[in-house]
Amino acid sequence: MQRVVITGAGTVNPLGHDVAQTFDAFREGRCAIGPMDIRDVDRLTVRIGAQVRDWRAEDHFDARQIALYDRSTQFAVVAAAQAVAQSGLRFDDDDLALRAGVVLGTAGGGLTTTDDNYRAVYEERKDRVHPLVVPRLMNSASTSHLSMIHGLKGPAFSISTACASSNHAMGLAFQMVRSGAAPVMLTGGTEAMLCFGGIKAWEGLRVMARDACRPFSINRSGMVQGEGAAIFVFEARDHALARGADILAEVAGFGMSSDAGDIVMPSQDGAMRVMRQALADAAMDPREVGYINAHGTGTAANDRIESAALMEVFGGDPPPVSSTKSMHGHLIGGTGAVELLAVLLALREGIIAPTLGFLGRDPDCPLDVVANAARRSRVDAALTNAFSFGGLNAVLALRRA
């Protein structure tokens, strides 16, 4: 069994177009949620979101690439380039390239492309669409482009488990590196669902907040959507040490569970089982854990049930908890990847990113919530939770390098 470490990280998300800007936002407690600037926003009742602002595809790509890359792929490609550059890895060596791979999470894939082209054929009555619609919209497009750009010829696939997609992807990448199946995996997730159809669908479910995302707080009124990507280099520790790489953190364990319950309501039992599995897989005592990046969507149901599960698993006294969805919104299939950045900040700098918009303690959520401002605290180990609609849960356990 190989130990698994992270040697590169990259991101494009509402808080910044790289990791440094994102860490600054976490330290400062900056919120990226605001009025959305999208087509037909006047026909939506949900009008706030966390958009990636000032994104100009032409700053990163040529015209041929722009024709080929959905917005979600654009985010993933730029984030992956940052992660690979930081790792210092090159994949021109056949031994490495033939075994290294990619596994990404996404729920909607090229949803913006789908939305644009449905509009073209149904609303504008066009009888012809761009020839590259299918390669743009397929859920695995980002994975394919990362493998092509970086020359990764080993296992490559995409995972779609709604809001847990990224955590499942990173957990699978972890297992593949740990087992020796691949020495290096690019992993993480991406999502670009902030288009008219993407938001309209969520609107129908009536779980969206009108003003702010306030996880674990009294008077919370639901979730706020975000968009973006985060991509990491997961590498066998021996491989990283042998080349003198800077190690950002160790991925220590992974748990997965299914509620086998309801298509939208979360389950305390499923949440408890998945956290316990992650801890056991990492051989981690609950008392070691200094920070939990909660799923914390800001809905009444998730936060109440996640709190109850945390109280049980951590013997009535869980470590500090925050939900950074209050800053970058819920990136759906990409959310676990962006939230792993908050875990890296906590492990590397001893700074716990806050839960913004916190108005006061809800008796249903009796947690030590890091509220409204970042907190200094040495963190040697952390969990990051993801629970999806349909009860597919995935939790990663990490340790300080």
Binding site: T45, G204, L205, R206, V207, M208, A209, R210, R220, S221, G222, I263, V264, M265, T299, A300, A301
Partner: protein, 87 residues
């Protein structure tokens, strides 16, 4: 009035898998056995039937502007929204 009430009751009954004659004004949604997803679907059906917007958030069903405590409260609320729309 009666036809509005009948329509609302028919919608709630359909979601609760009951016949409309089993639904009365004084019943709560819990009495009908309607869960949160069923309620969201019923609100959608009411909006479609009357072409109105019902101010309802599943995160705070008891606290919103729209009273859902009983079948009668829902009928009265829909009545108000339909009247507002006509005004």
């Amino acid at each position: 009035m009666n036809s509005l009430a009948d329509t609302v009751i028919a919608i709630l009954a359909e979601q609760a898998l009951l016949t409309p004659s089993d639904v009365s004004r004084d019943q709560s949604l819990a009495d009908l056995g309607l869960d949160s997803l069923g309620l969201v679907e019923a609100v959608f059906a009411i909006e479609e039937a009357f072409d109105i917007q019902v101010p309802f958030n599943a995160n705070e069903p008891g606290r919103g502007e729209f009273d859902i405590s009983t079948v009668g409260a829902i009928i009265d609320g829909v009545q108000g929204l339909v009247a507002q729309k006509a005004a």
